[in-house]
């Protein structure tokens, strides 16, 4: 029981990170109907920028405390957003109106470019980072087993909820969010009503990258490692989460992320750690076969 509770906590905090990334996949898919396969690498870039920020803060003895972590988050979001914008501008926008597979192939290329860029500029070794946030709250004690909600997990849960709250407000309540939803439904019509759709699409990439930066920063702080290849497996899992939740659905992405996080954690806890990725990707296959629209996705009805 205590063990299961601990796994639940671990699963939720991992799932929230997946959810943050999945939102980026699903948002871009919703607006321009492409899977941005470079999104996982944007997450990796976010982790690296956070690492650089942390190390420079440490070298000037400023690291420590929540203010510093907030600063790191802000730096990572700002720079990663710039990467997101650039990727869209140079690799996807010129291909708009081209055949459907073109931006997809370009995205895979962009993913390789980002990985190699980081590998060359930062080195191929795994970068360790000592824990920045130690300790936690003891929730329950069962014999020797202590159920702990670490401060790190609290940080993940609180900051994810805060970021998602701002994001939800942005999409549902503001003019910008309305424009994004309009582009999602009928881009040409939105354009004819005066909306600059190119800019709206750019903003979707910027926002998606900023969310991925939060995920990257939290992932780095939680697991204490970063390497140029980390975006691949995490990215594909977040993609799985987006598909499970129903690609195109924002609440679905968060729900899917939580489910994937929980499934992966419980699988590792009760079955086999080695096969945790297999478990996660089996979900992808099963979803695609039995529930192609995902949990919260809507049926696409083609008008004739």
């Amino acid at each position: 029981m205590a063990y299961a509770l601990q796994q639940l906590i671990n699963g939720i905090s991992l799932g929230m990170i997946y959810g943050l990334i999945a939102v980026g996949y699903t948002m871009v898919y919703g607006i321009i109907g492409m899977i941005n396969f470079a999104h996982g690498d944007i997450f990796m870039v976010g982790a690296f920028i956070a690492l650089i920020a942390i190390l420079s803060l440490m070298s000037s003895d400023l690291m420590g405390g929540p203010a510093a972590i907030l600063l790191v988050l802000a730096i990572s979001m700002a720079f990663t957003a710039l990467y997101g914008w650039t990727v869209e501008r140079i690799a996807y926008r010129p291909l708009r109106g081209s055949f459907r597979l073109a931006p997809l192939i370009s995205a895979i290329g962009m993913s390789i470019v980002l990985q190699n860029f980081v590998q060359v500029s930062q080195g191929a070794r795994v970068k360790p980072l000592e824990p920045q946030l130690r300790g936690g709250v003891e929730l329950m004690r069962d014999g020797d087993f202590v159920v702990q909600l670490s401060y790190m997990q609290i940080l993940i849960i609180v900051s994810t909820l805060a970021v998602l709250a701002v994001f939800t407000w942005l999409v549902t309540q503001t003019a910008l969010g309305r424009a994004m939803r309009a582009c999602e439904q009928d881009r040409r019509m939105a354009s004819l009503l005066g909306i600059n759709t190119d800019r709206t699409i750019s903003l979707a990439f910027v926002i998606g990258a900023a969310l991925a930066a939060v995920a990257g920063t939290l992932y780095l702080l939680r697991y204490g490692i970063a390497d140029f290849f980390m975006g691949f497996i995490v990215g594909v899992k977040a993609f799985t989460a987006a598909v499970l939740g129903g690609i195109g659905s924002l609440p679905g992405a968060v729900l899917g992320g939580l489910l994937i996080g929980l499934i992966e954690t419980f699988w590792s806890a009760y079955f086999s750690v080695q096969y945790k990725d297999v478990a996660a990707f089996s979900i992808l296959a099963l979803t695609l076969v039995f529930l192609p629209t995902g949990l919260l996705g809507r049926q696409e009805i083609e008008k004739v």
Binding site: T174, A175, R178, R181, M189, S191, L192, L193, G194
Partner: protein, 279 residues
């Protein structure tokens, strides 16, 4: 009703000059000239395949014409060359349009549909979203103003009580009216309607005719009088509300003038009844 406004000379809002559009080997529009007078309802009619929608698509930026000029003369005297502008620039220049098939944002609410049409203004007022993020008062004021304008139009089309319903769930006739209201919320100088009466029952057509006249005269809401260009197959409506009718056939203009004159034009009759005569 059609005689309400006889436009004075030299007050055209839209000038289409030797407009041609070629699709591969097909010359869909062949050197068409016409003008839309400020404060008028101008109808573009013609048999199927005459090139009406193509002309429309050129004016509203859907197609880039092969040759010719399309000039929009705004109230402040400035002129926009529409054939050179991209979609969202055309809307900003002051042209709004609807389509033959309904293109509302079906998954969004009625009110949201009208707010999107005011995005340009809102975005400027909000400092491109940054102001909104900080909850600045300017943003709130702009949003409140946008909602007021939307409410005015909803009252004008009789949908005020459905403001928060999903647009896709409205009856067909209401969706048609909502599309016109949405186009008007962009505050255009020229409103272009592609077969607005298609699929409407006689009562709804009647309401539509009244709505269009009130848009022309600026009595629908507090917004200023707006010139209207429409394509329409329902001759009842065309003859009743148009100030000026332009007739196309096989991509060329075969007649134009007041409705009564056009109705009796032998080229027009020939085109519609299919006599073997070319004008």
């Amino acid at each position: 009703m059609s005689a309400a406004l006889q436009p004075a000379a030299g007050t055209e809002i839209l000038e289409v000059k030797s407009l041609s559009m070629r699709f591969g080997g097909l010359l869909a529009v062949d050197g068409v000239d016409f003008q839309v007078q400020r404060g008028s309802i101008t109808a573009l009619i013609g048999p199927n395949g005459a090139g009406k929608t193509t002309v429309f698509n050129c004016i509203t930026g859907f197609y880039r014409p092969t040759a010719g000029q399309i000039r929009l003369r705004r109230a402040d005297g400035s002129v926009a060359a529409l054939q050179t502008l991209k979609d969202h620039r055309i809307a900003r220049a002051g042209v709004a349009r609807t389509f033959q098939n309904i293109r509302l944002f079906a998954g969004m609410t009625v009110l949201e549909n009208l707010l999107i049409a005011q995005h340009i203004k809102l975005q400027k007022a909000t400092g491109f979203g940054i102001g909104a993020m900080l909850g600045l008062s300017g943003y709130r004021a702009a949003e409140a103003e946008a909602i007021d304008r939307a409410a005015e139009w909803l009252r004008a089309i009789g949908l005020l009580d459905r403001a928060d319903d999903i647009a896709g769930g409205l009856p067909y006739g209401a969706q048609r009216r909502l599309e016109i209201a949405r186009a008007m919320c962009t505050m255009p100088a020229l409103l272009c309607l592609d077969e607005p009466a298609a699929g409407l029952n006689p009562r709804e057509s009647d309401d539509l005719a009244k709505l269009l006249v009130s848009i022309r005269d600026g009595t629908a809401t507090a917004s200023p009088p707006t010139s209207v260009l429409l394509i329409e197959h329902d001759m009842g409506i065309v003859m009743r509300i148009s100030d000026h009718v332009v007739v196309l056939d096989h991509g060329r203009k075969i007649a134009e003038g007041p409705p009564d004159q056009v109705r009796n034009d032998r080229h027009v009759i020939a085109a519609y009844l299919g006599e073997d005569e070319e004008g």
